[in-house]
Amino acid sequence: MLGIGGATALAGCSGNGGDGGDGETGNGTDGDDGTDGGDGEDSGTDTSTYATAAAASFTTLNPIYNDENGAGNAIARALDQGYTFNADNEYVPLLYDMSTEDGEVWTFEVREGLQFSDPYGEVTASDFVYLIQEVHQGGWASSVSATYWTGVEVEQTGEYEFQATLQSPQLLWPESYEPLLYPIPQDLLQPYVEEEDAEGLRQDEELLELQFSGNLGPYVLDEWQRDGGTQYSRNDDYYLQDADDLPDVFNEAPYFESAEIQVLGEQASRLGALETGEVDSAAIPPERVQEYQDNDEIYVNQIPQPYNEKLSVNMRDNGWTTGPGNMFRHIPFRQAMAAAIDKQSLIQGVFRDFAETHFTWQPRFSNFYPPEDNIPMFGVGDRYGSEYARGLAEDAFEQSEYEYGFDGETMVDPDGNQVQLSLYHSAGQETEQLMGEFIAQELGNNLGIDVSIEAIDGTRFDTEYYTTTDFPTPERNEEGEVTSVPDELVDTVDGEEVEWTSPTATNPGPRNITGNEDWDMEIVYGLNTFPRNPLTNAVFFDGATGSYNPVGYYPEFDAQTLFDNARQASSEEELADALVDLFVNIAEEQPYIMLAFPDSTVGYREGLEGPIENFSNGWNLPAWRYEQ
């Protein structure tokens, strides 16, 4: 899986120890070959060590600053986060329980008996409140979670209790991972808070080496070798051993004397280590799954994922470089593109059938997946093919003020030249390259578009093409409220005047505010579809107000109302109704050309108990063990 999580810092790190437990990697430039960012779980022939392999080394283990999935797993071995979700998608309290009446005021009850290492003492509500108020909301530290706590009022209400009041109710707040916290001792933070010393906090050795973790994780971090990985030994005092509210299996957790994560850059090394038993689990590339399924010592789990592969089409002014009138802006044209790409072949060829078709912005396992009768399934069956796609494209040409059309097989611009578009993918990412060439072929065969494929470094694409930091900002008063919006940030969308009150690098303003370089299409980034809390998807599809809209998409259905309905929903049913409606519309409009949800395929040593073929895989990692 490539570039998953991409540019957004939207998903929190759930800290699920297992592979693919959640999905945020850095910036798509992870790892040497990066072909699978997943880390596997490994426990070697020697069943006293639980060892896994990771593809890339960790940038930091400082919990406040980590935004990588791999490092999140490394931290999770030694430090639990607030809560997790079990196989049935139910909230499982770890460090604290969360409850609410109305979705607006949330009460956090901190578990008793949580201990930091000496000299920091017991974990209390004040540690969390201090972390939120002084670090996340302090404005100086640029911590990773800072955005999640903007506008949230936090108040300590007891030694083990604090309350958070949201600006607007959110029934699925925990599911967004936003209120997920690491326990950090107040006394450790204090000197940095007083000095507002972000650099010092970032480089603090106790944080980097997790020396304060006390009884807060299943293992204790012994050593972090920057290139080799991490080594842990069993934490005999692990607090979950005494927890009554969890399955009994936790009473003796963890079941391994030690743990380690080996950084093995080469895929061949990771697989070899799995075969020889050096590690107990590793991600398996799709073309080799069957081979490992036939292996007696290894079993392969196929775990559906919410991270997608999609084709972005640039509707901003730096897109559609082939001629006048950006055709991407017309819904039928995007539908035509979706209909021109054979999803089944893509999945069969590139992912060797270990992927799901992707029609709307939810994976099939989501509770909010709309009934399939209601959504147009572009790219399969009748809705795939040259004739069908051309028909849709003709509809789009009619909507356009420019005279595009077909000259025999080729799509031509008003001057009669073939439509030529660029497609960017990350350099060195083989899966992306395969996808890119396949898309180019399909668009060429079925729509007569000449697509040129460009490989580019992920970071460079991000800075120069995809996003921009050069945009006007609204004026704000002391409280941070917007007082006036510059003219550049006002535009008319579908006849309505819209203001960009909080422009971001990934949604810097109207379509005429763009990155430095032109681009037409990209597959550099995959995105999370947030099946647990689909409301989060508002950042993608809420037009001007969404914080992530590099492609310049403005919904032509009433997305705002649907999102508002969902936000104000007082029951799960109401919420589901609103969201299902939303996803039907998104399937229709194809804001991104949605292609596939690749599964995560992970191989484990035979006998390892615990892995499940579910998105929550790894939630109960401390309880994993070998059959006796």
């Binding site: 810092a9 940038t59 955005t147 290139d227 080799g228 080594q231 080469e266 070899g272 690098a505």
Partner: protein, 324 residues
């Protein structure tokens, strides 16, 4: 010009060359966009702050708001104070990162260098002693083979054969293996072998051709006539004079190989040494670490060239200092 003065001048010149190269690196990096600043802007924007103010703050924090020459002076100062900054991609000081990497690089490059220096001339002289025999042909063939086969390709193939098929060597590098242990020998034997085959060819060829000259020299004949044992005769009368021209090419060649191949071999064998450190620093755009490792490589290259020059002058009395 005396010898001392000549050496002084060469050393001074080496310093100048390093300075020029690091300056170019510095300028290249200074012209590149800094990902950290971008990140700050994104963060600020997401938090509803002012991105341009955040960029300014970040630039100030990193000292990037100062004029280029001030930053350059700071950079030069930091070179000799050994304060090379913090590596963002590894969360540790740059010097520490470099030292750690050097530790792993040394583990394979020391045996490699020793083997090349000892085996190369030995096989070369042996080859010359048996010139045009099948042994000579085998040795020559081996030299060309080693020289021509791309190191990384050879490494992959050996790893496939001995690691995957025969499972006699581990296919992943274990950093926790003690330096002097069987485990470490097993995991380093292939990289060392690959590097030695790559570098031994040139040494062998030079020493073969050089020693061929001395082989039939009068002093050799005299030695043989006097009844000096062949071993002794070769050691004293062939090896020694051969070493003179050899040593002049050796350093430079080894260094060139080191800089080019170490990265590839480290990538193939998963050794977290200097080459991979540099490469990873580049792809994660860790500016401080890139500067630091470039500095190390430049230093190695310049010192190597310097040594080569000095050895040449010391060994070959015909060289006139004034002439160079």
């Amino acid at each position: 010009m005396g010898f001392g003065k000549y050496v002084g001048a060469r050393v001074l010149w080496a310093v100048v060359v390093s300075l020029i190269i690091t300056t170019i690196t510095f300028l290249l990096l200074a012209a590149a966009p800094n990902p950290a600043i971008r990140e700050a802007a994104t963060q600020a924007a997401l938090q509803g702050g002012d991105p341009s103010a955040a960029v300014e703050r970040e630039r100030e924090l990193r000292g990037l708001n100062q004029p280029l020459y001030v930053r350059y002076m700071d950079f030069i100062r930091s070179i000799y104070t050994l304060d090379w900054g913090w590596s963002e991609s590894r969360s540790q000081p740059v010097t520490e990162a470099l030292l750690q990497a050097l530790y792993y690089t040394a583990q394979y490059s020391i045996p490699w260098t020793v083997l090349t220096i000892t085996l190369g001339p030995l096989v070369g002289v042996y080859s010359a002693a048996n010139m045009y025999s099948w042994r000579d042909h085998v040795a020559t063939g081996f030299a060309f083979f080693g020289y021509a086969i791309p190191n990384f390709f050879f490494g992959i193939i050996l790893l496939l054969i001995f690691g995957v098929w025969f499972e006699v060597v581990p296919i992943s590098y274990d950093t926790s293996a003690p330096v002097f242990s069987l485990q470490n020998v097993r995991q380093l034997i292939l990289p060392v072998f690959v590097l030695v085959t790559g570098s031994i060819g040139a040494t062998m060829r030079v020493s073969r051709n050089e020693s061929a000259e001395f082989q039939n020299s009068d002093f050799m004949k005299t030695a043989k006539a006097k009844g000096v044992s062949p071993l002794r005769a070769y050691a004293y009368h062939v090896m020694r004079p051969t070493m003179v021209p050899l040593s002049t090419t050796l350093v430079g060649q080894l260094l060139a190989l080191f800089i080019g191949s170490s990265l590839l071999v480290e990538v193939v064998f998963g050794i977290p040494g200097l080459g991979r450190l540099t490469f990873n620093a580049l792809i994660s755009q860790d500016t401080n670490l890139v500067l630091g490792s470039t500095l190390v490589f430049t230093f190695i290259a310049v010192v190597g060239n310097l040594l080569e020059d000095l050895v040449f002058t010391v060994l070959d009395p015909r060289i006139n200092y004034d002439d160079r």
